[in-house]
């Protein structure tokens, strides 16, 4: 039977932990290499997904914007009210209008649809009230 002293000495001795041996090159290297490869593969996949996502998102946004614009071109009233006259909107108006004259009239009266700020009058209204003697 070990005495109490023996147990205390054993407990004291067990506090000293033996030093670890140097890493075993074959096991350590192969596993480390495999672990590195797996981690590298995951990191590469993650980066690839991020890059593809980053590249795809603007393309999709642009496509949606183009689709929206094309849809708006087919609606000349929308262009007339909100947007300045451009070649594209003019072409859309030409395509939509029954005749060239109707299209020009439509464009000419477009500005009247725009509400003027308070206290201001349009030049056409001012000139219309003036009595000009020729």
């Amino acid at each position: 039977m070990p005495t109490l002293d023996d147990e205390r000495v054993e407990a004291y001795l067990k506090q000293f932990r033996p030093l670890a041996p140097e890493p075993l090159s074959t096991v350590g290297t192969s596993h480390r290499a495999r672990r590195t490869f797996v981690l590298g593969a995951w990191a590469t996949a993650a980066v690839a997904i991020l890059v593809i996502g980053a590249l795809t998102l603007p393309i999709r946004t642009d496509r949606a914007r183009v689709t929206e614009t094309i849809g708006n071109v087919g609606n000349p009233e929308h262009l007339m009210e909100d947007q300045p006259l451009t070649m594209r909107s003019a072409n859309a108006l030409v395509a939509k209008a029954p005749s060239f004259k109707a299209m020009v009239d439509d464009m000419a009266f477009r500005s009247q649809n725009i509400p003027l700020p308070k206290g201001k009058r349009s030049a056409v209204a001012v000139l219309g009230k003036e009595k000009i003697k020729l």
Binding site: D5, D6, V9, E10, L13, K14, Q15, F16, R17, P18, L19, A20, P21, E22, L24, T26, V27, G28, S30, H31
Partner: protein, 168 residues
Amino acid sequence: MHRTDGDTAEIEFLYRQHGPALLLFAQAVTGERCRAQDAVHQVFLKLIEKGSLNRVVDKKAYLFACVRNAALNEGKLRERNAPLEPDSAWFIPPDRDYAGERNLRCALGALPNDQREAMVLHIWGELTFSQISDLLGVSSNTVASRYRYALAKLRDSMFAKENSCANS
């Protein structure tokens, strides 16, 4: 026999788990850290080449036996009873008690080989007397007797004459 990833993982696990105690035991047998390191590595490299430990019942005791054989076989090529290295540490001391570590190393070095083996295998290898008896090829009573002698000597040299090693 083909080595699988599971076998390699098991060998790696055994190396991490028992490596320190095996190295200490090899140091206790050879007296040199380098030779001890070689013996431990030699055993594990052979295990990796061989394949697996599936047929081994008591893997820990088997590893200690392999390391002992490797250390003794390697020692036969050189001087059998080499003096223990005085300067290289064997342990990580508790609370940075480096003087205690040196005392313990000196006390272990002063033990006869058979007592030192029994001490290291039981305390740090955590093998039972029965396992040690199988490993060393002696009876359990002999192992227990060697262990008790060794423990008494360590107690005397470390606590009663704590600085004897440092002064020597």
